[in-house]
């Protein structure tokens, strides 16, 4: 009897220990995502002309883990997908307004997806249609522009695309709200890097070359599509372009970065200004020196 009591106590102790030490596996709860409503936002079923502004408000919240990824993609009627935003973050929740521009597709399912650190997903979507009456827009064509790098005293470094004017830093400050393109040169780990950027360059490295930008109250942020390294725009297409169709199709916002480095003669570089104007730059020549300059042709939406 004594023995059986002893064994019973041992068994209970083992069971208790196992029960305490075993953690129950629970399925983590997925995050939530909603589209904000309001007059300023594009609604489901909206019909928008090509180049027209699409504005979405998104609110997302993590349940069991922080949200770490936010993706916006368009699903076309044929099932193909085009990612227009893919961003990393690490936050319990966020609310954000995003602006995109209507492209050529007649219909697109705009899908907004968040993923948390448990790799749990949440998705919401609306469908937007192209206005069938859309026509191609006009462009501004500048066959030859020259911009200097930071030590160039003869050619300015600040460009206002709408007028094709290039300024030095002091004059540019007066026109800061219209300056969308700035150039500088640096040595990038041994590789010469003539660079296109803008006053709103994230991280603020541009202020090392142009400290006066720190004083600007308006810092326009132009995004540069760096995917042309693997998917270049043909020079012949650039030359033949007389409306904004090529400009719209060439720029892929998901590849839109804060600057375009290693700009070399022959490169055709898509970009989009902070006001949503898309453009293309064809580099003609480069002087690899902080006191050098870069010459190029540019086409940009009117």
């Amino acid at each position: 009897m004594k023995n059986s009591t002893f064994y019973l106590i041992i068994c209970c102790a083992v069971w208790l220990l196992a029960a305490i030490s075993c953690k129950k596996e629970t399925n983590p709860a997925p995050p939530t995502i909603t589209l904000l409503s309001g007059a300023e936002y594009t609604v489901a079923g909206a019909v928008v002309a090509v180049g027209g502004k699409l504005r979405f408000g998104i609110s997302a919240s993590g349940q069991d883990a922080n949200i770490t990824n936010f993706v916006v993609k368009k699903i076309m009627p044929d099932g193909s997908t085009r990612v227009v935003l893919d961003s990393g973050l690490n936050s319990p929740a966020f609310t954000v307004n995003e602006t995109f521009y209507q492209s050529f597709e007649t219909e697109a399912r705009w899908t907004f997806q968040v993923m948390d650190k448990n790799r749990q997903f949440a998705t919401t979507a609306i469908t937007v249609y192209k206005d069938p009456a859309s026509t191609w827009g006009g462009i501004l064509d500048y066959p030859l522009l020259a911009m200097g790098f930071q030590n160039n005293t003869a050619v300015g470094q600040f460009l206002i695309p709408s007028g094709g004017k290039v300024y030095f830093a002091d004059t540019a400050a007066i026109n800061q709200s219209r300056v969308d393109i700035i150039t500088y040169y640096y040595d990038d780990a041994g590789t010469p890097s003539p660079t296109f950027s803008s006053a709103g360059e994230l991280g603020g490295a541009i202020t090392e070359y142009y400290p006066s930008i720190n004083q600007w109250t308006t810092k326009n942020y132009t995004k540069w599509d760096v995917s042309v390294d693997s998917d270049p725009v043909p020079i012949s297409a650039f030359e033949a372009c007389h409306n904004d169709s090529l400009l719209i199709v060439s720029y892929d916002d998901v590849w839109g970065k804060r600057k375009f480095k290693w700009a070399n003669a022959g490169d055709v570089i898509p970009f989009m200004t902070s006001s949503g104007k898309k453009g293309l730059i064809r580099v003609i020549s480069v002087e690899n020196d902080p006191a050098g300059k870069i010459t190029f042709a540019m086409k940009i939406q009117q």
């Binding site: 770490t68 990612v83 893919d86 973050l89 690490n90 993923m115 790799r119 780990a189 995917s227 390294d229």
Partner: protein, 794 residues
């Protein structure tokens, strides 16, 4: 003569190598059978009961002859040179016995010993030993031994800092104890690749099949009995990775009923640690029958330091923080000793660490690396008569995690690299004396390595997986031939290795826009790949005395490709690398001559000169393709394209003029260059002909001085590391603005005093003058570290 032989061997293919080996064996065999000299035989017993002592060690001083007693305590040594001979008998637990007798050719002399029990065992702390023990001269290779006392006298916080003071050893560990990727390479091979130097812990390989790397942090410093460093590929016993040599770490074996050591320390960067080792036997003595056991472990934590260099940081780099560390290990072993020769033992070890990578943005612990390693070994060491055998089975299972958190181009990135690496194997070796002069060692080796890795992205949807397995079989045969008189010794060895790579895959789930370029490189099953490698080894030495000799060695070593190069594609520092399942092994032919000289029993000089030719060395080659990783990056692939030539000299000196003073110094010269480089496309591939291997100093020197006295014992160490090339092209680094890392020297010291025989208080000073140096990732060393330490030995 050596160079002529070298040229001939260089021209010779593998089959010629075998032929040369066989011819040498046949040529030497008849000589070795010739009988000459006298014979000494006798019996060794232990007082007071006059019991036979099995396994007692018999040494004929100045003749280099050794023997062991059998189960009846009987020994026999033949081929003894006539004249006066001093015989020394040692057996743990008993006082040594020494007798001098006269032997004549053809005469058999009986010499019995009765050993007295050794009641007083001097405390270990009294031993004066600051540098590697004198080179072992049992074989015609360059081998050095580091004792546990040398390790405890070194001010360094980890085991590799002891190796750093040896000639021919190149340590690459900028961050010291905070480092996760320390590389210890031998003999002028590239200092950033551990896969070319084999590291063993109690004969178990620590090099992982995945990338050849070794986690040096899991070695418990106080549990190490000694470290054998075999330089060059001279031994047939060791296979893949033993190109530069072998570092074999041996842990402590229980010999007493209970013994152990425990250390606590505290120092710079709020670094605190505890290390212990305890072991025992139910019956004392190295050879007594009975159970044995041991436990060991350690714990260490530190706030760390910020390895980033302020002048290289941009304004936005505000997320760099200290690279903290936390690590813990626990191990145990149990065994049973049947007699002096036969013992079984099983052991296990668990290691867990977390080391910060110096970046913290949103994650609480920032970017970090973590290893969880389980090791289990089973061993049977046995013998009967003069035959000895060793059977070993082992398993190492490592779960590695690296959380990457960083900002790039102002975009936040977070992903976890998870890798399960399994390395297991078994080996058998048998030593059989044959005839009067031959000792054959034969063995078989099996190794299995696998990797199952995933890159799990959190800031995008991607999951990238890679997997691969490698099976390696090997057989080896070695013959040690002692010619009459025991002055001349030959070693002939051959090793046959075969390896199979299989079940390799590289797959991507949910590829996001930024990983699209990887999709083209997916493969659910890479082609199987198999290699055969035959490594011959020939060496000879002539001993003037037991401590003075010259030796010559010609040997080939090899290294199998690692799984990471065979089956993983991914980002590397210079671009994007793609898997190459067709990689072949690389090999190294080594020609070496060396000498040792002992003068007045106080001054020991050793020198080695070697010339090595590395063939089919694996190098990254530009394929001409590029991928878009935000910007266009070149696609690279490891290929067998280079030939490397290494010329080296090592010189060692140590002096022990008195019992309280000792001194050592050494110097290493290495000229390691790429002599031939053949990229597939010479337009894309950069010309590396004539370029120096990276991270190999041409000049390296170290020295040390130990002064023992009744107040404070002092151990002073100095090290000089010469300039090293930073990149393969030997070109100026754009950040460091130089082609070479500058030379630097460091000084270290340990001061200690022993109280009450069992308690030692010490202070360790590493890098006393706070010398700063950096690596290719622009990270700097921790600088001066001061640690106070309390040790008890029981």
């Amino acid at each position: 003569m050596l160079s002529r032989l070298a040229k001939k061997l260089r021209r010779a293919g593998t089959s010629d190598w075998i032929l040369i080996w066989i011819v040498c064996l046949l040529a030497l065999f008849p000589f070795s059978l010739v009988s000459a000299g006298g014979i000494i035989c006798g019996k060794v017993t232990g007082a007071p009961g006059n019991n036979s002592l099995e396994g007692a060690h018999i040494i004929l001083e100045r003749q280099g002859k050794v023997a062991f007693t059998d189960k009846d305590g009987v020994y026999r040594i033949s081929g003894v040179i006539q004249g006066k001979v001093t015989i020394k008998v040692t057996f743990i637990g008993f006082k040594s016995g020494i007798k001098t007798i006269t032997v004549r050719d053809g005469q058999t002399v009986q010499c019995d010993f009765t050993l007295e029990p050794d009641a007083i065992i001097a405390p270990e702390i009294e031993i004066l030993d600051t540098k590697p023990e004198r080179a072992s001269q049992e074989s015609p290779v360059r081998m050095e031994i580091i004792t546990s006392q040398t390790i405890s006298n070194n001010p360094g916080q980890n085991i590799v800092s002891v190796l750093d003071f040896m000639s021919g050893v190149n340590l690459s560990s900028t961050m010291g104890v905070f480092s996760n990727n320390t590389v210890v390479s031998l003999r002028g091979l590239s200092g950033n690749d551990q896969a070319r130097t084999l590291v063993l812990l109690d004969d178990v390989p620590l090099n992982k099949a995945d990338a050849g790397s070794v986690n040096w942090n899991l070695v418990n410093r106080v549990n190490v009995e000694r470290i054998e460093v075999i330089k060059g590929p001279g031994s047939a016993k060791y296979g893949s990775s033993a190109m530069g040599g072998v570092i074999n770490i041996e842990t402590k074996q229980p010999t007493k009923i209970f013994s152990g050591v425990a250390t606590v320390d505290y120092g710079t960067f709020n670094t605190a640690g505890l290390r212990y080792q305890m072991s025992g036997k139910l019956k004392p003595g190295a050879t007594s029958r009975g159970f044995l056991y041991g436990i060991n472990g350690f714990y260490r934590r530190s706030n760390g330091y910020n390895p980033e260099i302020p002048e290289y940081l941009e304004k936005s780099d505000t997320f760099y923080v200290n690279n903290y560390l936390r690590e813990v290990s626990i191990g145990a072993k149990v065994g049973y000793q049947f007699n002096a020769l036969n013992k079984v033992e099983i052991s296990g070890n668990f290691f867990n660490d977390k080391r910060g990578r110096g970046v913290e943005i949103y994650e609480v612990d920032g970017a970090f690396e973590r290893h969880k390693t389980w090791q289990a070994n089973a061993r049977y060491k046995g013998g009967k008569g003069a035959v000895r055998w060793n059977i070993l089975a082992y398993n190492q299972d490592e779960n590695f995690e690296r959380l990457n958190e960083y900002m790039k181009e102002s975009e936040y990135n977070l992903y976890l690299v998870k890798s399960n690496r399994i390395d297991r194997g078994a080996n058998l070796s048998v030593v059989i004396p044959a005839g009067k002069s031959h000792t054959f060692t034969a063995g078989m080796d099996y190794q299995y390595g696998s990797v199952n890795g995933q890159d799990i992205y959190y800031t995008s949807t991607d999951v990238i997986s890679n997997a691969g397995k490698m099976d390696t079989w090997a057989g080896f045969l070695q013959d040690e031939i002692e010619l009459p008189g025991n002055k001349l010794q030959f070693n002939l060895g051959i090793r046959l290795n075969t390896a199979i790579f299989h079940d390799g895959s590289f797959l991507i789930e949910n590829p996001s826009y930024s990983i699209q370029y990887l999709v083209d490189y997916q493969d659910s099953l890479f082609p199987r790949n198999q290699w055969l490698q035959i490594d011959p080894k020939i060496s000879a030495q002539y001993r003037f005395t037991t401590q003075s000799r010259i030796y010559v060695s010609v040997a080939q070593g090899f290294r199998a490709p690692n799984l990471d190069d065979l089956c993983r594609s991914g980002k590397i520092q210079t671009g994007f690398k793609i898997a190459n399942p067709a990689l072949k092994p690389e090999s190294l032919d080594n020609f070496e001559v060396g000498a040792d000289l002992l003068i007045f029993k106080k001054l020991h000089l050793a020198a080695s000169v070697y010339y090595s030719i590395g063939k089919d060395f694996m190098y990254y080659v530009n394929t001409g393709d590029s991928v878009n990783m935000g910007y266009k990056r070149p696609v690279l692939m490891k290929q067998n394209i280079s030939r490397v030539e290494i010329t080296g000299i090592e010189f060692d000196l140590d002096i022990e003029p008195t019992a309280w003073l000792s001194f050592f110094a050494n110097y290493t010269f290495n000229h390691s260059v790429i002599s031939s480089f053949h990229p597939n496309d010479p337009i894309i591939g950069k010309d590396l002909n004539g370029k120096f291997l990276t991270d190999v100093p041409m000049h390296k020197a170290s020295g040390g001085l130990t002064i023992k006295n009744k107040f404070v014992n002092i151990n002073l160490l100095w090290k000089y590391t010469g300039e090293r090339y930073i990149n393969d092209l030997n070109e100026t680094d754009p950040y460091l603005l130089t082609a070479k890392y500058p030379a630097f020297q460091t000084f270290g010291a340990r001061l200690w005093h022993t109280f009450f025989k069992h308690l030692t208080a010490g202070i360790n000073l590493e890098n006393i003058f706070d010398t700063r140096f950096i690596d290719d990732r622009l990270q700097q060393n921790p600088g001066r570290m001061i640690t106070i330490e309390l040790t008890t030995i029981f």
